[in-house]
């Protein structure tokens, strides 16, 4: 059975998404909604990571329950960068690139949740299915947020 592998992959992709959201948040501190929502949405993925570690134990995969947190020196450096470039138009382009990455990562996570849900139905694991039903909609909301942010910013950034 390869469910364990799927869980491991999802655990990895959720962590990756959390990291990307935290980075986006820190780097674009002066875009205040990105700053706050980046953190908020990262916390959703962090919660998923914890829940997945829990589920993994039932399939004999050892997943770290501690999600990435984005703390540390690197983060501090990025924040300084953010303050310095508040008036630099290049920061806006960077925002598009960063949010685009969040969007594609979230798409990947979404697919991974679908795979896990399919598997959970196959083995009639009601608990795992319920987990997927609780978490996957949040992934979709993360995607929609990134997509909306891209749409909202793209015109201004690309035509000015």
């Amino acid at each position: 059975m390869k469910i364990g592998m799927a869980l491991r992959e999802l655990h990895r992709s959720e962590n990756e998404l959390a990291r990307a959201l935290l980075e986006v948040s820190e780097r674009h501190r002066v875009d205040h909604d990105v700053f706050y929502l980046g953190r908020e949405l990262a916390s959703w993925s962090q919660a998923h990571v914890r829940a997945l570690a829990d589920a993994g134990s039932r399939y004999d995969v050892d997943l770290d329950p501690e999600p990435v947190t984005g703390q540390g020196l690197l983060a501090a450096a990025r924040e300084r960068w953010s303050d310095a470039v508040g008036r630099d138009p290049r920061a806006a382009l960077r925002l598009l690139v960063d949010v685009r990455e969040v969007y594609t990562l979230a798409c990947g996570v979404s697919v991974d949740w679908e795979l896990v849900a399919q598997a959970a139905q196959g083995v009639r694991d009601a608990e795992l299915l319920a987990l997927s039903k609780a978490c996957h909609p949040e992934t979709l909301r993360q995607m929609r947020w990134a997509n909306a942010k891209l749409k909202e910013s793209a015109t201004q950034i690309l035509v000015s």
Binding site: D33, R87, K151, T155, I157
Partner: protein
């Protein structure tokens, strides 16, 4: 009978019982030495210093305004006037009115003529359009112009310039009201009516200090409270407001916890099954999810998060849960706080779950702050599409393009309108390079003022300010356009409960000041905006023809004005929209029998995610709500982002006082109002004042992580751990002019740059703060009024009074308003 309208702002009681008609009481104030017999003419109008829409007549003598008198026949106020109505008009004839256009030359603003000023504005617009396109231009308007002006501005900005960067200061004020209505009912538009006060048996005020923000509506409630079978009042407010003093239950939650509080109330309502299952079945979608989400909530949990007594929370739930006729009102305590839209939506949810909507006494008033905010929203001057069209619905855009006779591509609808905080960000990074500000004063009213000043004073930003005084913002402008104001121009405007009033021209504007409408028409002409057949895009030329154009734009839309004319609005009472062939006398209540405007092809909005703010797509909405029902939505409680710490142990909330409006540009120039609240103050509870060893009148420094201000202390009935600052006080009447010089006093120096993800309304109510004593008082009390929420809980400060200058004639009449209900 005469009273001091400063000392007794709500006046003499005229008690009435449930279902009866509110008696008439006509209030009048005339300038010293003028009597009713001296007045040459009376010109019909309504109040423009709050959102209540009090109808009044302007007294004119020798070509000057000399006073005001309430209109007894009007449905809104039945003759009563509040303090700002009675005294605010004096600002019109203030000697420091702007009378000539100003342009910046060699770093200084110098007088010029209209041709040169407009030429500068037009040339810069055209240069930027050629160089960068419409994305370089932004418009930031107000909630204080007239309907005709907003509509013209909307056409100019959306179809002429073609920019999505259009917003009003209603963003700070009523954006959440609109957003909450769109979430629940698919459309803006106030469901309730002021007449619901006459019928209600429970009135719940959520973060709404009505006694100070809509004083005449509060008078109506006071008259019910004084009559037989009075309603029970439920008050949610961290301060001991006049509303809280009259309340059967007063909940003073921790700032930022409104969603938790509402979850607790709703959980109780559902646990007791105070649910109208038949109504829910027929008219509501989303109830099962709501119930499921609320499963983890209880009165106990909410009481714990909000730090309120659980018995009080239960009692409040019982009152709203069992009321036969329930009226709810909501304002800044919710709109300017953490999770603004989610909390306001929960108030709608209570009504939907209980089936209490659309019948007498069962109403929701998601309040407005400003007199003409409703028009800013409906005419599209806040960036929305005109007449509640849906910017994500292609057929609505096409329909608007038909009305304007332009190509749909010219109307920017590829993205949601750019709200003011985002405009500021674009200006900061340099992609907005032209900003035209009208009748608002961001240098005092936006959060985190240091940042606002630094962005708006950039060399590379061309700032145009259109106003009646040299406000803080006008002082840093490149071009200043002097405007005419209320009483000096003609037009219409709409209050909170959809009542449309006509306002006539009583006197000439001072000097070369011009009506805002004329300024926009002039701009459109000079810019040469055309429709797709080469005709003028803006084809009207005065207020009445603008109104007629607007009527066509509203035909068949929820805010249908087609049954109204200037003639119809003159004399008699204001009329509530929609007013058309089907409802020729206007419409008292919306959503009677669950008939909503939320059908997918008709609704104004598909809603947004309450937490992320991402717009819901047409497809999703169609799946969710195919039959146009009301939608109950839920958002998880999320604590505020700034929480008290060792360094900043207090929470700061900002707000307003009865005697002032906005940044005091008018009210500080009305002597009675200015004398009632002349200086900034800071409020603390008795417990905190003792803990800090400070007393009434001591000068304190209040600091947040962003800045510090100085204010004298008032020990008031505010919640422990919370300090309050009124936000009205800026710098125009200090020697430094537009920014602090030494001790700052504007509350918004301290507030945080953050906004509700759904309504984009900035959050003014949940910053953290610390205080320290700067200087002991000499026994002189702070300048806080004693009649209002700032009343002292200690003895000492004298009672606020206005003396003979504030005398108002009250004429209490047995006769009821002529058919006006």
């Amino acid at each position: 009978m005469s009273r001091d309208a400063i000392a007794a702002p709500w006046g003499t009681r005229t008690p009435y019982g449930r279902g009866e008609v509110w008696p008439v009481r006509v209030d009048m104030h005339l300038a010293d030495g003028v009597t009713e017999a001296d007045v040459d003419r009376w010109v019909q109008s309504a109040s423009i210093l709050h959102s209540n829409g009090d109808a009044l007549d302007i007294a004119v003598k020798d070509g000057r305004v000399v006073g005001v008198r309430g209109r007894g026949e009007d449905r809104v106020n039945h003759g009563r006037l509040g303090p700002k109505d009675l005294f605010g008009w004096q600002a019109n004839r203030s000697p420091d009115r702007l009378t000539r256009p100003l342009v910046r030359r060699g770093g200084r603003l110098v007088e010029t003529d209209w041709d040169e000023a407009m030429d500068l504005v037009v040339r810069r617009s055209q240069d930027l359009l050629a160089e960068q396109g419409p994305s370089a231009l932004g418009f930031y308007t107000t909630g204080q112009l007239f309907l005709e002006e907003y509509y013209t501005l909307g056409v100019v900005a959306h179809a002429g310039v073609g920019t999505p960067h259009v917003d009003g200061n209603t963003r700070l004020c009523t954006a959440t009201a609109a957003a909450a209505l769109k979430q629940s009912f698919g459309c803006d538009g106030q469901p309730g009516s002021y007449t619901d006060v006459d019928h209600a048996d429970v009135i719940a005020l959520y973060g709404h200090n009505m006694a100070e923000t809509q004083s005449v509506l509060w008078t109506r409630i006071l008259d019910r409270l004084a009559g037989p079978n009075p309603p029970a009042v439920v008050c949610v407010d961290p301060r001991l407001t006049p509303v809280a003093r009259e309340a059967a239950v007063h909940l003073a939650p921790r700032p930022g916890t409104n969603v938790a509080l509402m979850n607790g109330l709703l959980a109780e309502v559902i646990a007791h099954d105070w649910v109208d299952h038949d109504y829910v079945e027929r008219h509501v979608v989303g109830f099962d999810e709501l119930k499921e989400q609320l499963a983890t909530w209880s009165a106990d949990r909410a009481a714990d998060v909000c730090d309120v007594p659980v018995e009080d929370l239960r009692e409040a739930a019982r009152l709203v849960g069992t009321a036969d006729r329930l009226l709810s009102t909501v304002l800044q305590g919710f709109y300017q706080s953490n999770q603004a839209t989610a909390a306001a939506v929960q108030v709608n949810n209570i009504h939907l779950v209980r089936g209490r909507l659309g019948t007498p006494g069962n109403g929701i008033l998601q309040m407005n702050g400003q007199p003409t905010a409703q028009n800013t929203r409906e005419a599209g001057a806040d960036g929305d599409l005109a007449a509640f069209r849906n910017w994500t619905n292609e057929s609505h855009v096409a329909d608007l393009a038909r009305v304007w006779n332009v190509d749909p591509m010219t109307i920017p609808h590829y993205t949601p309108p750019t709200h003011v905080m985002q405009q500021l960000r674009y200006a900061e990074e340099g992609s907005i390079r032209f900003l035209w500000v009208q009748a608002t004063n961001p240098l005092v009213s936006l959060p985190e003022l240091h940042r606002v000043r630094s962005v708006l004073s950039q060399e590379r930003l061309f700032l145009v300010v259109q106003d009646i005084f040299l406000t803080e913002t006008a002082q840093i402008a490149d071009v200043v356009l002097p405007a005419a104001t209320w009483g000096e121009k003609e037009g219409t405007f709409t209050n909170v409960d959809r009542t449309v009033h006509y306002s006539g021209k009583a006197v000439e504007p001072p000097g070369e000041a011009r009506p805002d409408l004329d300024i926009f028409l002039d701009y459109a002409r000079r810019m040469g905006f055309q429709d797709k057949d080469g005709g003028p895009l803006v084809h009207w030329h005065d207020p009445e023809s603008a109104f007629e154009a607007w009527k066509e734009c509203t035909r068949g839309r929820p805010c249908d004005y087609t049954g109204l004319t200037y003639d119809r609005l003159q004399g008699g009472s204001g009329v509530q929209w929609p007013c058309n062939d089907r409802s020729p006398d206007g419409t008292e209540r919306l959503y009677v029998d669950g008939a909503f405007w939320s059908a997918p092809d008709y609704c104004e909005s598909y809603g947004r995610d309450l937490v992320t703010g991402a717009p819901v797509s047409q497809t999703e909405y169609k799946a969710l709500n195919p039959h146009g029902k009301a939608v109950v939505k839920y958002a998880r409680y999320v604590p505020p982002h700034e929480l008290p710490s060792e360094e900043y142990p207090l929470q700061l909330t900002t707000g307003r006082t009865l005697y002032h409006f906005h940044t005091r540009t008018k009210t500080a120039r009305a002597p009675q109002l200015q004398a009632a609240a002349p200086e900034v103050w800071v409020e603390m509870s008795a417990h905190d004042a003792d803990a800090y060893g400070v007393a009434e009148g001591d000068l304190l420094e209040v600091a947040s992580p962003r800045a510090a201000v100085q204010a004298r202390l008032r020990v008031s009935g505010i919640r422990r751990g919370v300090v309050f600052l009124p936000f009205h006080y800026g710098y125009w009447d200090t020697p430094s002019g537009h920014e602090p010089d030494g001790g700052a006093r504007a509350a918004n120096e301290l507030t945080v740059t953050e906004w509700d993800p759904c309504s984009k309304q900035p959050i003014f109510k949940t910053a953290v703060a610390r205080v320290r004593l700067l200087e002991r008082g000499d026994g002189t009390p702070s300048a806080a009024p004693s009649t209002t929420a700032s009343r002292s809980v200690r003895t000492g400060p004298p009672a606020t009074a206005g003396g003979p200058a504030a005398a108002v004639e009250e004429d209490v009449r047995a006769r009821v308003a002529g058919g006006a209900r």
